[in-house]
Subunit: 217 residues, 2 copies
């Protein structure tokens, strides 16, 4: 409690103070984001209207549009916040593990746990990512980067600790693992796979993807 | 010429004859499919209207609806025809190669060659596959199966010829390879990757995916 107060005042000293109007603007923006998050999670992207998001935030549609150009921008802002928070959760999920495989599976399992309840949203995000303007894709990649970074950092630790080969192409491995992780949601969506099946499948996929990069024992 | 005539009469003998009305129906259906294929390829899925497809086929929208329930069904029928034809092209592309890697790369390279001109269509298909009714997903999987089978058959040949381990999980490998193949289209769509970059990337991905399944030399 005391420690966190110290940290808070440290931060206040470092960052410029918001005046009252700016602070109100930040609060309004956050209220809109939270209302949008709730509605996107409940309904998916298309059926969530700006009108209902405004209603959920207790403000006019005009006030929403003063903060976000359109629903797409609002959606990206929610996604970006969520993924940054998710990345922190995933990072801490791997903390107790000592092997590369163990860390990856703890992380990816936590990823499924955190997201499976919002499956329609995950599907909407992936579907949208296949057909969006380049500028939106650039923002999507920035939003996703913290997640891929968690995987890359685990692989880098594997190289440092001698479990993976020095010459392993970590970016390629991280992208393949992330791609396999994502593709399994199709089974959740269409074959009613639950956590256990998703985890078992990503475990097999990780084993295949890492096999050629393990250092000779 | 003579040979193909012989084959034609063989086939006629084997399959039930269509009467004149049935034959006309098959021709009409094919005309609609061809007009739809052209329009989907030019515009992508959403902007292609049934009205324009009917116009392209030289018939009424009523005649189109007599053959297909809606645009989604028409699209799936076009896709299914295209993918079956593509699978044959991919299969023959690997014929001259003697190694598993060589066969896979010849096949996947041909896949990019055959499809890159229709990139918006590929994007639309993948996006749609993330958010469709289960019944549509079942039909999509049936349409895609011939493609995945080409990869699986190459892997099976690799096991038979002693290049891959007997205990390799070929289905898992085929799905990972197919998933990597598909995911690279994102780079074509957003990073202007051409054939050379796609082929180089899938080559590296195939190497990673096969590494753990190579038989000890």
């Amino acid at each position: 409690m005391a420690l966190s107060s110290v940290h808070a005042s440290d931060t206040e000293a470092d960052t410029p103070r918001l005046n009252r109007r700016q602070a109100a603007k930040v609060r309004t923006r956050q209220k809109v984001l939270d209302a949008a998050r709730t509605l996107f999670a409940e309904r998916g992207y298309e059926p969530a209207t700006i009108r209902d998001i405004a209603k959920g935030a207790g403000m006019s549609t005009g006030a929403v549009f003063a903060n976000f150009q359109d629903k797409a921008e609002l959606f990206e802002a929610v996604l970006s916040e969520d993924l940054a928070r998710l990345a922190e959760t995933l990072r801490s999920a791997s903390a107790g593990e000592t092997s590369t495989r163990g860390r990856l599976l703890a992380t990816l399992t936590a990823g499924y746990h955190e997201s499976l309840e919002q499956l329609p949203l995950v599907q909407a995000v992936v579907a949208r990512s296949w057909f969006q303007p380049v500028a939106a894709e650039v923002r999507t990649r920035a939003a996703i980067k913290p997640l891929v970074d968690v995987v890359t950092d685990i692989l880098q630790a594997g190289v440092r600790e001698g479990e993976l080969r020095q010459d392993a192409d970590l970016r390629l491995l991280a992208e393949l693992i992330y791609g396999a992780f994502l593709s399994n949601y199709r089974h959740a969506a269409y074959d009613n796979w639950g956590i256990d099946q998703l985890v078992s499948q990503i475990g097999k996929q990780v084993d295949v993807i890492l096999a050629g990069s393990l250092a000779r024992q």
